[in-house]
Symmetry: none
Subunit: 251 residues, 2 copies
């Protein structure tokens, strides 16, 4: 067995700007983590193979090899979580929505404390989900208190930012549409009745028609389909809704 049994978490930082990497090293080591540094993409990949980190902090704008490429490589050779550093907000969608995406991101300028918190959140997530060559880093239904939840192969949901990215591009959802997708994707195995969804999305005290759930679900599906997300929500006729792409009513 090659896996190293270690007490402290190991973090690999792939970052070309020395000020940033130094800062991160100081912060993470102060938090009791072991830090490995790399300045370029190829160096980072080699370091990942060698030191087997638990989390990789990866700058998107690396000279030479693109950060996205590095991330994709990392996915096939390591099971570490990837925390992406991005300079501009509009880069995030590309990183998050790709099939081989990051597990979380931080935009520059960032506070060291925030990076530390997010790394620790990633460390709390269960390990071992990347079976070498598997396309999706996070299969549907990941229970993530922090970061990004991958709803389906091409649909990712950022609960914190209340944003949904489909095939690399953000999709504008209304409040109710987002809450519906959030509710359904949070427990992907369960069939949620209209009443349950209504309670969850609208709040307990509400006398409205359950039919409203239908309409919003229809709008949600239309938007996701138009964005190339495929079928995300399945109808269970006579009961409610559930995650999945099986068209027919099961049960």
């Amino acid at each position: 067995m090659v896996a190293v049994d270690r007490a402290v978490a190991r973090v690999l930082v792939i970052e070309d700007t020395e000020e940033i990497s130094d800062l991160l090293q100081a912060v993470l080591e102060a938090a009791g983590m072991e830090v490995v540094l790399a300045a370029t993409g190829p160096d980072g990949l080699a370091a990942a193979r060698e030191s087997r980190p638990d989390v990789v902090i990866l700058d998107l704008n690396l000279p030479g090899l693109d950060g996205v490429e590095v991330c994709r490589e990392l996915r096939t050779t390591s099971d570490a979580y990837v925390l992406m550093l991005t300079a501009r907000t509009d880069e995030i969608d590309r990183v998050v929505g790709l099939t081989v995406g990051a597990d979380d991101y931080v935009t520059k300028p960032f506070s060291p404390r925030e990076v530390q918190a997010r790394v620790q959140a990633l460390l709390r997530r269960p390990r071992g989900l990347v079976a070498l060559g598997a396309p999706a880093a996070v299969p549907p239904g990941a229970d993530s208190a922090a970061g990004i939840r991958r709803v389906s192969e091409r649909v990712a949901l950022d609960a914190e930012a209340r944003r949904v990215i489909v095939a690399g591009a953000p999709v504008t959802l209304t409040r109710i549409e987002f809450d519906l997708l959030d509710a359904v994707s949070e427990n992907p195995r369960r069939v949620l009745s209209r009443s349950q969804l209504r309670d969850r999305v609208w709040g307990g005290d509400w006398l409205a028609d359950d039919h409203a759930v239908d309409v919003h679900m229809s709008n949600l599906r239309r938007k996701l389909r138009a964005a190339g997300g495929g079928d995300v929500v399945a109808t269970v006729r006579g009961v409610g809704y559930r995650m999945g792409d099986e068209p027919g009513a099961r049960g």
Copy 2:
């Protein structure tokens, strides 16, 4: 029956990735369970014989011996419940629907809480009846939300997702058909009268003909037979319906 009288529940984890097994060990021990680890299929089988666990957590993708093979072996040498870890959603149906299938499943990445909850749900299920393919008896009113219910050799039922898997493939049932199968399979030894089934499936206030039960039962049988599930429901002439394939034995 070699029921071991012990205070704490014992869980065997068969998993080759050390990170996952470590995580599971930590979570389950924190929940007050005794944990035994094994990294390979043969080791796991030996450990199961030796330590007689109550629940086995089994990775589907083990190197060498396949997880399905390990599961089949476990069934003949142990009466433990099997919780399967699968990486991808579409593997589930195969694992769950097979003759020797898992009792529940969790998809990676899993939340530690979920694994703990599902293990405890399995521990609440009655012991000693599951071995050798016999359907597990869940007394009425028991925690029915727990895991997969094996209806017959080739038919499995996921109450939470309202899904029925026959011979490794999902089968589309209508609401009433599913509820009928659910009712009959929930207490497999009992003969349920048409009135009982009607109350259970339709709800108390209903004036319809009992004949409707016949028709839906007929449709249910046809679908299960067509999917290769064999005869699942038996008629007890003059009384009602019961699980099993024996035609008309009076109960």
